[in-house]
Symmetry: C2
Subunit: 212 residues, 2 copies
């Protein structure tokens, strides 16, 4: 079994945080090209979805998508539960995790990848060939991310973590989103005291410090 | 318990298909405004995420996100398994379902909502206030959707359904994406024989015919 990552990117980081929280050790291979914001061409040839993270099983099966990889481990190692322990908690984790990915992480990534010259022609990950940047998406990504951060602020005024009392994969995705937002010009915790409280608490976790 | 839907939209449809496949009956309320492509303002005031589907539990808890609603039922009614029956199948379902949503459904929706005059100022769902359409996204959405359909074609050359032998929520999301694509000018099954074989087989299911 091997986990392919690009350690500076938020999606592989979600899985790395998850594995530390679970206490699971998996052999890991870095496939980012040192000093360049691209993935190793040899890896791209072998990984049809052209993205990281990818978990390769011993029989050669490739599992893409951060949450699919986490699901694989969660089913075999349910303790401590990071994807919910009963029907309602599992639903709330899935809801906040998906909203964090769709409305938060994608929005920040949209602003980032359309702004940076080093991503010219590669405005979205996973697309073979050319995909032009669209300058309007720099601001639109920030607008969407702001709506998402307001949603986190409201939710974290009523619960300690996103899905309730417990730290879960929903908090992992939200954390990686808030942290990734430092690369675009946008306020995250400023003027959002509940989000600031949560960020400070999560920042102290061993899994977060180990992947900073 | 009540499920709020807008029956012409692909996301509520994913849950409606799921419930028929499981044989679960849930009271349902239509919150689309007849003849207009908008949600009932009274519903929007009560549903902070401003999107459908939403499942309201008897204690007032609101669950958003189609797959979070399915997870709630799947955990309580595991048979027949539509989200995988063991660690590997659960991971493959999650992977193909998420790829279908991120790379397929979002791409088709991006092309659709940026093209239609009736969605002017509402280029993305769930955003309060104005969000302008971006004309470049009409073609970019089609380009991304084409990459996704090619991916389906390759996968369905090696497996009967997306996650393997069994029909799962991954097929539901992929079906709703392929069917939604009739509203944008793009080839789906033309030149993709494996996708055509899968589409014809899935089209015959009772759940698909009942939600057409």
């Amino acid at each position: 079994m091997k986990l392919y990552v690009w350690k500076i990117a938020p999606n592989p980081r979600r899985v790395c945080i998850y594995l530390i929280e679970k206490g699971i050790e998996v052999p890991t291979e870095e496939v980012g090209v040192p000093g360049k914001p691209i993935l190793d061409p040899a890896f791209l040839e072998r990984a049809p979805h052209r993205r990281v993270p990818v978990l390769e099983l011993d029989d050669g099966t490739l599992i893409s998508e951060a949450m699919a990889i986490c699901r694989y481990f969660e089913t075999q190692h349910p303790e401590p539960p990071l994807m919910g322990a009963d029907a309602l908690e599992m639903a709330l984790v899935e809801m906040w995790e998906r909203m964090s990915e769709f409305e938060g992480l994608l929005a920040v990534a949209e602003s980032f990848r359309n702004a940076k010259r080093s991503f010219a022609g590669r405005a979205l990950p996973g697309i073979p060939g050319e995909l032009a940047q669209i300058p309007e998406l720099i601001e639109r990504g920030k607008q969407r991310a702001g709506v998402y951060f307001d949603k986190l602020e409201a939710r974290l005024g009523e619960a300690r973590h996103l899905a309730g009392e417990r730290f879960t994969v929903a908090d992992i995705t939200a954390w990686c989103t808030v942290d990734f937002a430092k690369f675009i010009e946008i306020e995250t915790v400023e003027g959002r005291p509940n989000l600031a409280r949560w960020r400070d608490e999560v920042a102290g976790r061993e899994s977060i410090r180990a992947t900073a």
